[in-house]
Amino acid sequence: MFGNSHMQRTFHFAVPLLLLAAGAYAQRPAASANQPFDAHDLSGFWKERGDRLATNQRHEISLNAPTMTPWAQAKYDAAKPGLNGTGAGRAQPLGNDPIMICDPVGYPRVLVASGNYGIQIVQAPKEMLMLFDWFYARRDIWTDGRKLADDPDPRFYGNSVGRWDGDTFVVESNGFDERTWLDSAGHPHSDEMRLEERYRRVSKDTIELSMTLTDPKAYTQPWVSEKKYLERFSDKELEARDSGWNDLREDACIPSVEAKYKEQVREPAGGAGAPARKP
């Protein structure tokens, strides 16, 4: 039983993204969509429904990345996505995506590339937490009125403060560790990146999100995302997930397991000259 469940865990990492890409999750409006809600309450369990977007298979900020600086272009060219790579010849079964060895996935990738994985938002008095299934990661958004530091220690999940602007929750972040990829396509960012996110709960079941990424070292102009949607998990959906008790999964990335998977599955497949998996 153990070996089996561990094996399942191994595949967590890759499989849902593929399922999502294959369109396995059909979109259907929920009965609760018209119920009343508190616009200033973002708490609960959500998923990023990439399949509502024209760019649904991209797991990117959006399709229309601004022009990269030479610094960013060199990084982008060196990045070899293992999965979900876009652009001719970019995806390679044995790529150099840092998450393949469980290096931190970082923000915003943990959100924009999370597919149907769970995201829990917790509103505490002084901070908002975003907890993720994927990588068992988290992000802390301070709401106690503090300002972003001018030169913070870089973090994989950034340094963030949030405030309400009417019914929109505005999150500003800086201090991102530039070792992470922005998305599964391998877009880079620098540690000078600043991110603004605007969250608005438009119905009981939906939060709209737009992101603006400003990083002159990497992109010649701000990168404005297409609108993204967080959709509320129904209790039924939560129950159906393998945690079995209505919470997030513990989808920790386990380097020793990933190393084994690479050795036993990915390398033989890649080494045999298998074609790159298309998203």
């Binding site: 060895i101 008790w245 380097p255």
Partner: protein, 522 residues
């Protein structure tokens, strides 16, 4: 690059190892630093005090048939040097030892004395010594034969070997087990570490329940004695006027700190305001810090509010030094586990966290170096761990633990209030995790109970009980684990909580460039 930035860039395991070895090296250095020669100085009649050697001052009194010693130095070697010096004064054997308190630099040298001594101490000092021994590495086992044979709980008049002594304990001051030795006939007081003259202000060990209030009571008590000579635990012999000045200085500073606290000043500002230097407490928290924490701890609090940033104090190693007897299943796993650090340490061990495999629950809770943030919401309590940037969630919405859950490194947890104790029950552990840095295993059948009790504004007491019959023949109850709040007003969790994520590529590099070359030397 700032040091903090450099440290965040270093692999977290490396930093943990660095901290661990740093603390160890410091202790070793203290033990091994060549000490000045031990000097014996006569006071009056047959009473002597000594300074030098390793550890605090000592004293001795030559009685009718034997010698009564006061405090035992820090090492067996230094104790033997002391015995040699006593032998130059008198051929009589040392028959009695009075301990002024339990600190290592006053008691660890006991092993250099012949066995069979009558050892007298305050009952709390004996308790503190016994607790240290419970969690001590095997190298300290010899001290077990030197626990006090007689304890004092209140002031006592004694005549030992024709010598009249009064043993006084006014309050827990430097430690909970302070004992002042007063020789009324000679007007001499051995004050122990109530007087630490190498420091400008008193040294209070809060972890041994010492208090500044108790220190003041001890000073006033000593000043009321008909005495002229005061032998401190460290530094030169003092007179009554010198003690009066020291008491007045400490009281004034204490008042000043309380006022600054009341004005909302954070500790770092208070330090500046009183003009305290970094080394004000030697290797220990300074008087300013101690008083500040006392004032902070005495603030009102809601016993059902556990939120904030906390550090584990206490063992910081695991549930306790010794596990209950292991089953063969657990023993085999324990034997296969090769820790990177500790008594079974191997520089290139197989600790799963060395490769950034998940830490697991118990290890995250009990590790003592990095902070934990607790967040309470109506339905859930979260514990966010700085180390490994990980977390656990405790449901408080009334649900029951799942019956056959898919194993998780951080388990499944539910919590409820039992009076003022927050009781957390957990199951469903992934058995690949280690329970502690020593490699104790946990099985998927293990159940954990944690009880969190907010003892004062700044302290949560924690008791953890693991019941895992597949691994241990009886429940394993944690020992010596206390969470202390170290966040001070004006310092909040952004300053304290870091993103100490484990990065496999950085760990691999560290292994290749540092750990492996170092390991090869072993």
């Amino acid at each position: 690059m700032q040091l903090t930035k450099l440290l965040t860039r270093l692999a977290p395991i490396a930093v943990a190892a660095w901290l661990a070895t740093g603390a160890y090296a410091q202790r070793q250095q203290q033990a091994q630093r060549p000490a000045p020669p031990l000097k014996v100085m006569p006071l009056a009649g047959d009473v002597y005090w000594t300074t030098g050697g390793a550890g605090g001052n000592t004293g001795f009194i030559v009685g009718t048939n034997g010698v009564i010693a006061i405090d035992a130095k820090m090492t067996a070697d230094s104790a033997k040097e002391l015995l040699g010096e006593i032998a130059k004064v008198t051929p009589k054997p040392v028959t009695h030892m009075i301990l002024t308190h339990s600190d290592a630099d006053h008691v660890n040298g006991l092993t250099g004395f012949p066995k069979g001594l009558t050892i007298i101490a305050h009952e709390n000092a004996r308790k503190e010594m016994a607790e240290v021994l419970d969690n001590a590495p095997p190298a300290m086992a010899a001290l077990r034969d030197y626990l006090p044979t007689q304890t004092v709980s209140k002031n006592e008049d004694l005549t030992i070997d024709g010598v009249h002594l009064r043993l006084l304990h006014f309050a827990p001051g430097h430690t909970s087990g302070d004992l002042i030795v007063y020789l009324p006939d000679r007007k001499i007081v051995f004050a122990g570490d109530i007087l630490t003259m190498q420091l400008p202000y008193p040294l209070i060990h809060r972890e041994k329940q010492g208090t500044s209030e108790g220190w003041i009571a001890n000073m006033k008590g000593m000043l009321a004695l008909n005495a002229e000579t005061y032998v401190p635990g460290h530094g030169d012999v003092q007179t009554k006027p010198a003690l009066e000045t020291r008491l007045a200085d400490a009281e004034a500073r204490r008042d000043q700190i309380a006022k600054l606290f009341a004005a909302g000043q954070p500790l770092r500002e208070v330090r500046k305001a009183v003009g305290e230097t970094a080394a004000a407490g030697g290797n220990f928290p300074s008087f300013t810090e101690v008083v500040y924490r006392e004032v902070s701890a005495s603030q009102p609090f809601d016993p059902h509010d556990l939120s904030g940033v906390w550090y584990i104090r206490g063992v910081g190693f695991g549930m306790s030094r010794k596990s209950p007897p292991m089953t063969p299943w657990a023993q085999a796993r324990y034997d296969a586990a090769k820790p990177g650090l500790g008594p079974r340490g191997h520089p290139l061990g197989n600790d799963p966290i060395m490769g950034c495999d998940p830490m697991g629950l118990v290890r995250s809770i009990v590790w003592g170096v990095y902070p934990t943030e607790i967040i309470q919401t109506p339905k859930e309590t979260f514990m966010l761990f700085d180390w490994f940037y990980t977390r656990r969630q405790i449901w408080t919405d009334g649900r029951k633990l799942p019956e056959d859950p898919e194993p998780r490194f951080y388990g499944y947890s539910v919590g409820h209030w039992d009076g003022d104790a927050f009781v957390v029950e957990s199951n469903g552990f992934d058995d690949r995790q280690w329970l502690d840095a020593d490699g104790h295993p946990v099985s998927a059948d293990g159940r954990l109970e944690e009880r969190y009790y907010r003892a004062d504004h700044d302290t949560i007491e924690v008791t953890i009980t693991l019941t895992d019959p597949k691994a241990y023949t009886q429940p394993w109850v944690s020992k010596g684990i206390v969470t202390g709040r170290l966040v001070t007003p004006g310092l909040d969790s952004t300053t304290e909580m870091r993103e100490d994520v484990c990065i496999p590529s950085a760990e691999a590099k560290y292994k290749e460039e540092i750990r492996e070359p170092a390991g090869e030397k072993h």
